[in-house]
């Protein structure tokens, strides 16, 4: 029999319906995996007792022939989603002890669909990072290890949803939630050999998700198959009056979109994504992806997105600017850490100096600077104007094509310790994913092959706004063609 922890969401749900195992058995198998894999540091808070309680409730519902789409399925939650009564840290010291008195919309929907929560997953502090090394709770370790001979230390899982990607890849959770501001679902999905989708801005409610950059943040599922991503996105998505940027649009049946039929679809191949110094194996995988889609009856079309090279600098103005405003709430008064000071101002300054890590401080200070008097036009408004041009690039491209294919990231996972001294080198991880957030579009990463070192590499499918269905359909075809069955060596 297949290990319970190796199942997909779809297969586990079918197994529960067929009474092959119970939700409690399924949950216990995952709790055992969680115990065994603690060295990966994927979790900040484990909630095994709560999980078993909920699994027993799921079994009771299943016995009555009831049960939601995710009934009895153990998943885990990025620790950026507020969970009622359960510690929520955002990976930051400044949220010490914070137990939200409310539940985020996304987690409410997941629980209502019957999902069983195993705990809260590690992440870069306030989701700021691409390697999961900025968490106050320490780095997450990628369960993938390079081939012998390519001796390096433990690898990063990518970030910021590094705990999510590691937990799903290491078979600790059947699926996990992630959030993506500039690539934080797709890049770790690529680094850990799993599937991740950032939905269209407005598709999934941001209510109750700790805010980083509000015009860019979107939550999405991280899973082991495209079908699972479609199932879980269907549960997470939908209009929420509590988030005024949430789109009042119907949620299509994403699973039904996975027809495997992409005949006649035009797939854009942006020439500006052939960046300097891109490893040959990533370019080769991209070409392979183009051939797979052509073989399935789609038509690759070369397109141009001329503003691509400006996306990262635009992002590193807009995201810190929004972060500096969003993070103003952490002041030592309402929740979390307080470091005393002689005056109110000194208490704020001491609390924020002790509570924020180096990368968060760097971004808050950059954001404060670009919004400050005299610099607002030169930096912030300039960036917002070029953001308009970046979105126009995509609008023009989608006049001609139905989806766009690119690599997800410019490299495979690197070792913990690399790129640490140079923030700019770290930022380049997101060169292919950031433009998608700036334009508010859906983007999916699908594992498509292995590097020479034996590490997973992903391909990204970008779609029109609110056309996740096509993105998933194309992703499903890539998944079938790639037949990616490799699994990480490390489970603990």
């Amino acid at each position: 029999m297949v290990e319970l922890t190796d199942l997909t969401l779809a297969a586990a749900r079918a197994g529960l319906d067929a009474r092959e195992f119970s939700a409690v058995e399924l949950t216990k198998a995952h709790i055992a995996a969680m115990d065994q894999a603690r060295a990966l540091n994927a979790f900040i808070t484990e909630t095994p007792d709560l999980a078993l309680e909920r699994a027993a409730e799921s079994d009771a519902r299943l016995a009555k022939g009831e049960g939601g789409v995710l009934e009895g399925l153990p998943i885990a939650i990025k620790d950026l989603f507020c969970t009622k009564g359960v510690l929520t840290t955002a990976g930051s010291h400044i949220l010490d002890g914070f137990k939200p008195p409310y539940e985020s919309t996304v987690t409410s929907k997941l629980w209502a669909a019957g999902a069983v929560g195993l705990g809260k997953l590690n992440l870069d502090e306030f989701a700021m990072g691409s390697a999961n090394i900025t968490s106050y709770y320490g780095p997450v370790i990628n369960p993938w290890t390079p081939h012998a001979g390519a001796a390096r230390g433990p690898l990063v899982p990518g970030g910021s949803s590094g705990g999510s990607a590691a937990a799903v890849a290491a078979r600790i959770a059947l699926a996990a939630t992630g959030t993506d501001t500039g690539g934080s679902i797709r890049q770790p999905a690529s680094f850990c050999g799993i599937v991740g989708i950032k939905p269209t801005y407005g598709r999934v409610s941001r209510w109750g998700v700790v805010a980083f950059a509000s015009s860019l943040d979107q939550a999405g599922p991280m899973t082991r198959t495209v079908e699972d991503a479609a199932i879980m996105l269907g549960v997470m998505a939908g209009h929420d009056p509590k988030d005024s940027t949430s789109a009042p649009m119907p949620v299509p049946d994403f699973r039904a979109a996975l027809t495997g039929d992409i005949r006649g679809l035009k797939i854009g191949i942006p020439r500006e994504y052939r960046v300097d110094n891109m490893p040959v194996e990533i370019d080769r995988l991209w070409q392979q992806g183009i051939e797979w889609l052509r073989a399935a009856g789609a038509e690759p079309v070369e397109i141009s997105l001329p503003m691509t090279k400006y996306a990262l600098p635009v992002y590193y103005i807009i995201a810190p600017a929004e972060a500096s405003a969003n993070l103003a709430r952490y002041d030592g008064v309402k929740f979390g850490l307080r470091v005393p000071g002689a005056s109110l101002d000194e208490m704020y300054e001491n609390t924020r100096a002790a509570g924020f890590g180096a990368e968060v401080k760097r971004r808050v200070l950059i954001g404060t600077y670009v919004l400050s008097a005299g610099y607002y036009d030169a930096y912030y408004l300039k960036a917002q104007r070029i953001r308009t041009l970046i979105a126009r690039d995509f609008e023009a491209a989608f006049q001609k094509v139905d989806a766009i294919l690119t690599p997800t990231a410019p490299s495979a996972a690197f070792a913990i310790g690399e790129k640490m001294d140079d923030p700019l080198a770290m930022y380049l991880n997101d060169v292919f994913t950031v433009p998608v957030n700036l334009a508010g579009l859906p983007g999916l990463s699908v594992p498509a092959g292995l590097s020479a070192d034996g590490l997973p590499l992903g391909l990204q499918v970008i779609g029109r706004a609110f056309d996740e269905a096509t993105v998933l359909r194309v992703g499903g075809v890539l998944e079938t063609a790639a037949a990616f069955t490799a699994t990480p060596a490390r489970r603990g």
Binding site: K99, P101, V314, V333, K334, R338, E349
Partner: protein, 95 residues
């Protein structure tokens, strides 16, 4: 535009983050590298381009002006590092 020590001190004050004098040079250097890198945006002509206001073309909804929540002072104060008599407490601000 280079950030000198005084500017670092000023934005640290605006951001309410204490940055010790000894760290200001190094931090200014790091921030300068980032600012220098983003200044490549100056080469793009944006004279007739409006700044993006909303990434998806949706009309912002208007809510009825009614109370939908409230009377949860205990919940609100539950996570406060300091609270007394139904209020947050802070260091004394009036002399």
């Amino acid at each position: 535009m280079a950030l000198d020590k005084a500017t670092v001190a000023r934005i640290a004050t605006l951001a309410r983050i204490k940055v010790p004098e000894a760290d200001r040079d190094a931090l200014g250097h790091e921030l300068n590298n980032i600012l220098h890198w983003v200044e490549q945006l100056d080469e793009v002509d944006t004279a007739d381009v409006p700044p993006m206001a909303s990434v998806v073309h949706l009309t912002q909804p208007l809510r009825d002006d009614v109370v939908t929540d409230g009377a949860r002072a205990d919940d609100v104060l539950k996570n406060a590092p300091g609270a007394a008599h139904g209020f947050f407490t802070v260091p004394k601000v009036i002399e």
